[in-house]
């Protein structure tokens, strides 16, 4: 039992590793604040493009979305970070993470929002157009507010996944929480930093999980 405590919950080691772990946590939060808005922005763009009923716009869009949903994000990230330099493009760890996440998570946000947009009954759009609203105004005032509200649980769930996924940035040596924890572990020969990182992730994400449950319950209640 004592061995277990010393291996996973060693307070001395935690005291030493604390500053570097805190630094990692801050990096993880900053990273999330970068990649979530980028992904949402990309998603909104893709969803809006999907409303264009032109097949020359449609098929490339479907191909794009399918491609970035099918490619594992870790593979995409390593390609951007370690593959592109062979073509002379050095975009660095932050650049690779920003672009990789934008492409991968943008494709998911885009599909969620597209489903939300398509769920709005056509009659509402006709009513709006019959009062003289333009296509764009109808999208802005009628379609998008409802699409976003109707898909809020899915958007939240996806955001939760995106924040968790930021831990893969550790493979391109971006000093976020997991990377720092592994550094601390290899220096101290002890698993306590990893345990601390796990707890930090939990504390960071648990409120979001609660929020998600409440949104899902509210949506179920709304359907009744």
């Amino acid at each position: 039992m004592d061995d277990l405590l010393l291996a996973f919950f060693n307070l001395d080691i935690l005291r030493q590793a604390w500053p570097i772990l805190l630094n990692g946590l801050i990096q993880t939060i900053l990273l999330s604040l970068l990649v979530v808005p980028l992904g949402v922005l990309m998603g909104i763009t893709l969803a809006l493009l999907s409303t264009v009923r032109n097949r020359w716009a449609r098929y490339p869009l479907i191909a794009f979305t399918d491609f970035f949903r099918a490619i594992p994000p870790l593979v995409l990230l390593i390609f951007l970070y370690a593959g592109l330099p062979f073509a002379g493009w050095e975009i660095g760890a932050w650049g690779a993470v920003a672009i990789g996440f934008m492409l991968n998570t943008g494709a998911y946000y885009g599909e969620i929002l597209r489903a939300g947009i398509e769920s709005i009954p056509a009659g509402q759009l006709e009513a709006a157009r019959s009062t003289g609203l333009t296509r764009l105004q109808t999208l802005r005032h009628i379609v998008l507010p409802q699409a976003i509200r109707n898909t809020l649980p899915d958007l939240t769930s996806n955001t939760l996944e995106v924040v968790k996924l930021t831990s893969i940035a550790s493979v391109v040596a971006l000093p976020e929480l997991l990377f720092q924890a592994r550094q601390a572990q290899s220096v101290t020969f002890n698993a306590t930093p990893i345990m601390a990182a796990a707890i930090a992730y939990f504390i960071l994400l648990w409120p979001m999980v609660r929020l998600l449950s409440r949104l899902e319950n509210r949506q179920l209640a709304g359907r009744r």
């Binding site: 006709e126 009513a127 003289g132 409802q146």
Partner: protein
């Protein structure tokens, strides 16, 4: 027809292989109340939807209030402001209050400031006897009330013409009266109205002219007393007989 506010000529509409409108001519005079009846699938809703170009006719010409609706140079959004439309399924915006539903186009299309738009929207809701429901969301209103909000949404723009596409077909029988009452008042205020509906008693009592459509064509039209009392066409007779038996 001189003085016509709606002038549709030779309107054809194809949906793929389906020929829904087969050269329809329809003129509507200012302040006229025209009732379009006919069996389902006869093309009456499609004709109505062509008038404000919710459907693009395959050929023909449509003039509304001096505007060529089918000219590509026509600003369709501007033209539609003058053509109010009411739908079978109300089509209110569920995320906005009644007042929000009515004032949206006033603000975004006419560019009115919020306060002025809401004042005019409130007045429109008064006209449909829902002044006390301005803050309610569509989900909190009965079907009849929702349809009256939809009428308010259209008349708030002060259109020159109102189109009604089966406005009472989705309503429970006890809610139909309130909607017809509002339409009657609108008619008395001098609004030009084209109504597609199965409310025969209303047509008989209030319409200036009844138009009978079948298979994408106008078979017969005239004052309600003539069309209902002495239909000249066998199909009109059969249709009216069927409806009145119910």
């Amino acid at each position: 027809m001189p003085g016509a506010i709606i002038e549709a000529r030779g309107v054809h509409k194809h949906f793929g292989a389906l020929h829904v409108l087969k050269g329809v001519d329809l003129s509507v005079a200012e302040r006229e109340f025209v009732f379009v009846i006919g069996p389902s699938g006869s093309g009456k809703s499609t004709l109505l939807r062509c008038l404000n170009r919710l459907e693009q006719p395959s050929s023909g010409s449509i003039m509304v209030d001096g505007t060529d609706m089918l000219d590509v140079k026509t600003d369709i959004n501007k033209a539609r402001q003058r053509i109010g439309m009411v739908f079978q399924s109300f089509n209110l915006y569920p995320h906005m209050t009644a007042l929000g539903n009515v004032s949206l186009a006033l603000r975004k299309v006419l560019g009115m400031p919020r306060a002025a738009a809401e004042a005019r929207a409130g007045a429109a809701l008064e006209r449909v006897h829902l002044g006390d429901r301005a803050g309610h969301f569509p989900g909190q209103l009965s079907g009849g009330q929702q349809q009256r909000v939809a009428i308010a949404r259209a008349i708030a723009l002060e259109p020159r013409v109102m189109l009604f596409d089966e406005p009472t077909s989705a309503l429970d029988p006890e809610l139909v009266g309130g909607v017809l009452q509002v339409m009657r008042e609108l008619r008395e205020s001098g609004m030009t109205m084209v109504v597609v509906s199965h409310e025969m008693a209303f047509a008989r009592a209030a319409a200036d002219r009844v138009v009978f459509m079948a298979d994408g064509e106008i078979l017969e039209q005239g004052p309600p007393a003539d069309v209902f009392g002495a239909p000249s066409h066998a199909r009109t007779r059969a249709f009216i007989g069927q409806i009145e038996r119910h």
